[in-house]
C-alpha cells in the first residue's frame, strides 16, 4: 500500500498484515483462518478501490448526519446505586470488582 497525493493504490494484504491486524483487533487466528481472511479482505478491498476514481480534495468529510451540536447536560449524578446491576453479567467477580487474569507479576 502506497499513499500519495490522497490517492491510494491497493496492494495485496498479505498474511503478515492479517496477523498484525488480528493482534490489533485482539482476535486470535490460526493459520488457516488467517489465509481465508486474507483472501476475503483482498476481494473486499478490490471492491473498495472504486473510491479512487473520485477526486475529493475540496470535500468536507461528513462526520455526523444529524447536523446538530452535541448537547450539554448538568454534571449531576442521576443513577441510583447500580453497582450490583453493573456486576451482574460479569463472567468473574468478587463482591465489588470485576476479576481479570493477573496482570502484574
Amino acid at each position: 500500500m502506497v499513499v500519495c497525493d490522497n490517492i491510494f493504490y491497493h496492494m495485496t494484504i498479505d498474511l503478515k498484515t492479517v496477523k498484525h491486524i488480528s493482534k490489533l483487533a485482539r482476535i486470535s487466528l490460526d493459520e488457516k483462518k488467517a489465509e481465508k481472511l486474507a483472501t476475503d479482505m483482498n476481494s473486499i478491498f478490490e471492491f473498495i478501490e472504486k473510491l479512487n476514481e473520485l477526486n475529493t480534495d475540496n470535500v468536507e468529510p461528513l462526520t455526523s448526519i444529524a447536523e446538530t451540536t452535541l448537547r450539554f447536560r448538568d454534571d449531576k449524578i442521576t443513577s441510583e446505586n447500580i453497582r450490583e446491576k453493573i456486576l451482574k453479567n460479569s463472567p468473574e467477580k468478587n463482591d465489588d470488582f470485576f476479576v481479570v487474569p493477573k496482570v502484574v507479576e
Partner: protein, 485 residues
Amino acid sequence: MSEITSLTLYELIKNIKEKKISSNEAAKSFVDRAEKSKKINVYVTENFENCLKLSKEFDDKPNFDLKLPGIPIAVKDLFCTNEVRTTAGSNILNNFVPTYESTVTQNIWNEGGILLGKLNCDEFAMGSSNETSFFGNVQNPIAEDLVPGGSSGGSSAALAANLTPVTIGTDTGGSIRQPASFTGTVGLKPTYGSCSRYGIVAFASSLDQAGPMSKDVKDSSILLEVISSFDKKDSTSIDFKRNNYSSELTRNIKGLKIGIPKEYRVDGMPDEIEKLWKKGIEYAKDCGAEIIDISLPHTSYALPTYYIVAPAEASSNLARYDGVKYGLRSSGKNLIDMYEKTRSEGFGEEVKRRVMIGTYVLSSGYYDAYYLKAQKVRQLIKQDFDQAYNKVDAILTPSTPSSAFKIGEKSNDPVSMYLNDIFTVPVNLAGLPGISIPAGVDKNNYPLGLQIIGKPFDEQTVLNIAYSMEEKINYKNNITDWWMK
C-alpha cells in the same frame, strides 16, 4: 372473523378495544402458532409464559386509551430488554441478561405492548440473509430453504408467518427494508435521529436506526408513532416535532413529485426488477403523483463507502466485548491471551471479517486513505440527495436487486452478499427515511419490494405515498404454512 394471528395490528387493536378479543386470547393464539412453527427458527428467546401472564393482567385491568392495548409483540434480539436475555445473534452475548431496557422497547411497553420474545437476526446485525446468527439460519415462510433476508430476518419471517402482529427491526444498511422485501412485508427505516439508539446493541453508530416492520403500511404508521421519540440518553437523538403518523395518514398524494434516479438502473439487474420498477412508476402516476427523472450521480460509490464506514465503526463498538464486564469469557494464560481467545471464540466469521476490515482502515497510516476518504464520499452522496430534493418530494426505487435467494447460495462470497444492499445503503449514508413495500412477485412467485425514500423527518410523505401505492398494488402474500406439515 379470520384467525387472530392473521389480523393486521390495526384490526387486532380494534377487536381488543371492542372487547371481541381479549389480550390473553391474542397472546395464546400467537404462542400456540409459535409452538407449531419451531422449524422456521424465528425465536432466540421465548417470553411466552410471561406474555400470557401479563396479557391476563391487562384483561383484568384494561386500558383502551393506550396505542397498543395488550398487544403481544416479538422484537429483534438486538434491543436490550430488562431481565430478558439479549444476544444480538452472537455467542459472545449468549448469556447476557440486560439490567435495563432500550428506549424503543420501553416506548412499546408504555403503550400497552407485551413482549412475546426475542427474534433471531444476523450476528450483531451484520448480514443480509440471517445466516450469520449463532442461533442458526431462519427459514423464509414464503418457501422452504429460502433466506428471509437480513439482518432483521427473524423479524421479517415472524411477521410473514403470522407469529407477531407487528415487530421492530434495526437498519444500518438495509436490515429492515431488504428482509421486508424478501418476505412480502412492509419495513420502514426512519430518519437518523428519530428513534433512540439507547439500549440497542451497537453496530455502526452513525448509521444504525430502529424502525417498524408490519403487514401493511397503516400498521407501520401506528408503530412509528409509538417508537419515535426524543431521548436524552441518545446524544444523536433529534428533538423535532413528530407527527401523529397514523391519524395523518392519507391517500391523497395528488401533485407530489416523485423522482426516478437513473443510476439505480444497475448493470446486470434482472428484467423482472426493471419491470417491477416500471409498474411502480405507473402506480405512482395512477395515484396522482408527478414523475420526474433525477440523477444521484454518486450512487455507485455508496457500497464501497459503506464497507469502510460501517466496519470502522463496528470495530470500535465491538471493542467492548473483552470477556471482563459481561458476555463470554474464554480462559487464557494472561490478560491479552484471554481477550484474544474470548473474541476468537465469541465472534462468528462475518463479524471477525468486519472487525478486521475496520481495524485495518483505522490503523496507523491508513486512516486518511480509507476512513477520511469514505467520509468525504459520504458527503457527496448526501449532497446528491439534497440536490434531488430541490426538485422532488420523494424518490422511488426497487428495494433490492433480486428476490430472496437460497440458503447457502451466497454465504461463501462476501462481496456478492454485500451487493444485496446496493439500493438501501445510500439511504443510511444520507440518514434519510425509506420504506419497502411489497409490489409484486418474480418468476418463482417470490415477493419483490419497492422502496420510497423521503426527505429528512418527512416520514409522513413516505408513508402516504406507500399507503396510496399499496392500495393500487393490492399485494397478498401466499403463505401455505409448509413448515407445519
